[in-house]
């Protein structure tokens, strides 16, 4: 099995690259081969501090298989300790200290692809887990086959359930959604943080083909990602937020 994955990202308009708080893997265009392939995307919350650090730790843990599909507290705890180590120990002004006490929050969406053979039949399978509003959409033959964990654009809010860097907050029972499905050789998977996912689903609901626009990004047809997002922001059809997309084409 091999996969071709390409990531695209852009900070919120008016913010610098260093203020971008999404996280994703793989970081660059990548052709990946393997028995089981993992990809992940995360979105650190604007209203908490050091949330970009927390988002990166979560993505890294998932793709290294330090985190399973239940995002179990005992697997999150080492990430929390690591986050604490990174952000504490500095002398901070009063507001930064207070803010830090609330912890950082992030969404996380992880997916794994694999194949199984039984009785001469090849089964192509995928499985995903999510906390929050980062989304996966599977597209086949010009139609959406699956959207996860959010299926309608109207369901996005600015107050999602997210994973906390503090165990006392929601560490014992973080809200996790799981799903699984089968993939085909011509399928494309799109992993997106909320602003892009909301636009994608809304376009689809209106009869549009957003996947066709995203398939052509940065290929020979050459519509650059930043030009696309700039134009969507100008038309006010996408929220001004950090935007991240991973486009994955899987082959048997």
């Amino acid at each position: 099995m091999d996969a071709h994955a390409q990531a695209f990202w852009l900070p919120k308009s008016g913010s610098t690259d260093s203020e971008y708080e999404d996280a994703f893997f793989p970081r660059r265009i990548k052709r990946r081969k393997g028995q089981r392939l993992r990809f992940a995307i995360a979105d650190g919350a604007t209203e908490t501090s050091f949330s970009g650090v927390w988002a990166r730790l979560l993505v890294s843990a998932f793709v290294r298989r330090a985190l399973g599909f239940d995002f179990a507290p005992e697997q999150l705890d080492p990430m929390r300790t690591k986050w604490e180590r990174i952000v504490h120990g500095k002398s901070l002004p009063w507001y930064a200290e207070e803010k830090l006490a609330s912890g950082a929050y992030s969404s996380l969406l992880g997916v794994e692809f694999w194949q199984e053979e039984s009785e001469g039949q090849v089964k192509r399978l995928w499985r995903a887990a999510a906390s929050g509003d980062s989304c996966l959409v599977q597209v086949r033959s010009d139609a959406i086959v699956a959207a996860f964990p959010i299926t309608e654009s109207a369901s996005f809010t600015s107050r999602p359930d997210l994973l906390s860097s503090l165990p006392a907050t929601n560490g014992t029972s973080p809200f996790i959604a799981n799903t699984e499905g089968q993939w085909g050789c011509d399928d494309t998977f799109f992993l997106m943080t909320d602003a892009m996912a909301c636009w994608f689903l809304k376009e689809g609901e209106a009869g549009g083909h957003p996947w066709a626009i995203l398939r052509d990004l940065d290929t020979e047809a050459e519509t650059s990602f930043s030009a696309l997002i700039d134009s969507l922001r100008r038309e006010c059809v996408i929220k001004n937020d950090d935007v991240t997309l991973i486009r994955i084409d899987i082959h048997g």
Binding site: E47, S49, Y95, A96, S102, S158, P160, L162, S164, D194
Partner: protein, 279 residues
Amino acid sequence: MAYSAEISRGNPSCLAFLIDQSGSMNDPFGAGEGNQKKADGVADAINRLLQNLVIKCAKEEGIRDYFHISVIGYGARVGPAFAGALSGRQLVPISEVGNSPARVEQRNKKVPDGAGGLVDQQVRFPVWFEPIANGGTPMRQALGEAKTIVEGWLNQHPNCFPPIVINITDGESTDGDPLPASEEIRKLKSNDGEVLLFNVHLSSQRAAAVEYPASETGLPDQFAQQLFRMSSALPSYMVDIAKKEGMNVGEGSRGFVFNADMVAVIKFLDIGTRPSALR
């Protein structure tokens, strides 16, 4: 749709606080329980509101200027009421507010111990205002001052999220009926909606706290009823958020509280993703 403008450093909004510093603020608060004077209650209310606002805008690199803040005191005089380094300033970016409290106190705060109990934790509590109680209650003049400041802001920021004016008082104006002046403020608008005027009524009455009522029926006195009438209705998006926070609000709820704080309003301001579990 109104009240949907982005609040960002490129498109900041404005919050104006009006603080009653009249002589009657020397009277006990809530019938004197805990010996707290109304002036102490007002100072605590404004310090807490500013603290929450600063924390909301804080990120690891510092405080982002999503808001500019004005604080007008009214009592023996009407004018800018910041203490310390910001003294005399009329409109201050939130980053400067956060970095320039008059002093920072150490206070105890109850925090979860992770095992279902609470423990005391020392926290730093910034103070921008000291309790002051002196003179009459020129609320009408203060509202006029707020109108001038907000009008100036709107001229420069026509597309901003509508400014919010929060008036903290014991309710009894001594320079005439404040209702027309409050209507003048509520008529002002940005391209995203009308300016919001909210009122916090701190009273000596031994009456139960009231939060965001939809009717003046049942309010404890004529001053509470007057302040209710002066207050804007909560925009529907705020009502939705307040309901999710478990607050008892509905269509027609006004931005008015009686013997209660208004810190929840800070949660209503949308500067980006806010985790549902964040308190």
